[in-house]
């Protein structure tokens, strides 16, 4: 087999920004859409079949770094720039392709063939998870060089924690939208970041409703798992 060595897809734009740190330093973090980069990165990897855990690791590390850069700017009270206005031009309505029916080749056999695989990975899991896991990775590994930043955060975390204890009295729970009701946009973002740190330290629990996107906050660990029927 003739092997022509091709650059892996992630060294091409736009993903290369996650793998070339020197470029990262020259950019404003506000110009980088982490969610878009990571989503398309994963999609591309799945599509091409080039599953590379090292690359994923580096991508995650770089995203955390970009995220940290953004957080730092916010804590310095620097307003993020407004999103660029799209150029105006006549936008025609979508051009719908003529509809054609096509028979598909998937049968019940295909469905059951793949089922075996899935059941194997199900067996590797604990039957029911006890508590919800945090979505974000621990920031602790990327922070050691920023002591001042940490001190600042700890102070503000304490303040927010006190405020939360005050607010959840009685119901034991508060919605994020209620918490930030009277805050400016920037204060709200800072509060959100602090909440993530509090959750990381297991001082509060966060839960997001996938449909309304509302975030619920409780003090301490909340055993939501208990409410669910065992499957």
């Amino acid at each position: 087999m003739a092997t022509n060595i091709k650059k892996p897809f992630y060294l091409r734009p736009p993903w290369n920004i996650l793998f070339e740190f020197h470029k990262l330093e020259k950019l404003s973090p506000w110009n980088i859409n982490i969610a878009y980069l990571l989503t398309t990165f994963l999609e591309e990897m799945e599509k091409t079949g080039q599953i590379d855990f090292r690359a994923s690791g580096i991508a995650l590390d770089s995203s955390a770094l970009i995220y940290l850069m953004k957080s730092k700017l916010l804590l310095k009270l620097e307003e993020p720039p407004l999103p660029p206005k799209p150029v105006q031009d006549f936008l025609p309505p979508p051009l719908f392709l003529p509809l054609r029916y096509e028979l598909t080749s998937t049968t019940i056999r295909h469905l059951l063939e793949v089922l075996d695989d899935v059941l194997k990975s199900e067996m590797l899991l604990k039957p029911v998870k006890e508590r919800l896991e945090l979505v974000l990775p621990s920031p602790s590994e990327i922070l050691p060089q920023t002591d001042y930043y940490l001190m600042e955060i700890e102070l503000q975390m304490e303040n927010l924690y006190r405020l939360l204890c005050e607010k959840v009295k009685g119901t034991g729970i508060i919605q994020f939208s209620t918490l930030i009701k009277d805050m400016t946009r920037l204060e709200a973002i800072r509060t959100f970041i602090l909440l993530l740190f509090l959750a990381q330290n297991e001082k509060v629990s966060l839960w997001q409703d996938e449909e309304t996107e509302e975030i619920y906050i409780t003090i301490g660990g909340l055993n939501i798992g208990k409410e669910e029927p065992a499957s």
Binding site: L42, E43, E46, L99, Y101, E102, L103, T104, S105, T106, T107, I108, R109, H110, L111, L112, E113, V114, L115, D116, D117, V118, L119, S121, E122, L125, K129, W207, D209, E210, E211, I224, E227, E228, P229, S231
Partner: protein, 201 residues
């Protein structure tokens, strides 16, 4: 020619851009053709913008007769629960099977679908645990395709397959029966696999 459309129902009658009324028989045919699955009377009512189920039934019956009278590879069938489907006549399948190449789904989403089918009703959280974070995308796709639906149970989203899923794979609409059917085929498959393995030794 264009002026001959009758002055009834002009507001609700489906029309083309130049105001010509679209033939209702052809509209039902269009609906059955693009959906590629059995449609209920009420789905057809909605396409024809009418509430009269009787009217729709009449139109479909005429279309069925029209198809039956022609020498065509396609047929329209009435299923037992008053659903209608346009499909290839069975005798043509062997001659054109080699042209059918596109799978319904790629492997990833198909695995997620198989898991939901066997474990339904299953919390979305559990599906993600078993199948990984990519399954969020799979679930979205499967919902868009009408193969699964989600229900809220308190704070949890619970997933199950739809009637369309059952129709596509020729399974029962009753969930417990369907799961039994799936398990049976799965066990049979495993048993015959073992036979093959042992006879290969």
């Amino acid at each position: 020619m264009e002026k001959k459309s009758p002055p009834v129902d002009l507001k609700t009658q489906p029309q083309t851009a130049d105001g010509k009324a679209i033939n209702e028989l052809a509209l039902v045919e269009a609906a059955l053709y693009v959906s590629g699955r059995p449609l209920t009377i009420s789905e057809l009512c909605s396409v024809l913008k009418t509430r009269s189920q009787r009217k729709v039934k009449n139109i479909v019956k005429r279309l069925i007769q029209e198809y039956a009278s022609r020498n065509t590879a396609l047929e329209i069938l009435e299923l037992k629960d008053e659903r209608y489907v346009l499909q290839l006549k069975a005798e043509f399948t062997p001659h054109v099977r080699k042209l059918v190449k596109r799978p319904l789904l790629s492997i990833g989403p198909l695995k997620t679908l198989a898991y939901i089918a066997l474990r339904q009703p299953v919390p979305q959280k559990r599906v993600i645990e078993v199948r990984g974070h990519h399954a969020y995308g799979h679930i979205k796709l499967l919902k868009e395709m009408g193969l699964i639906a989600s229900e809220r149970k308190g704070r949890t989203a619970v997933l199950k397959t739809t009637d369309y899923f059952a129709d596509y794979f020729g399974l029962s609409h009753d969930i417990p029966t369907m799961k039994r059917e799936l398990r049976k085929i799965l066990e049979k498959d495993r048993a015959s696999e073992k036979t093959v393995e042992s006879s290969e030794l």
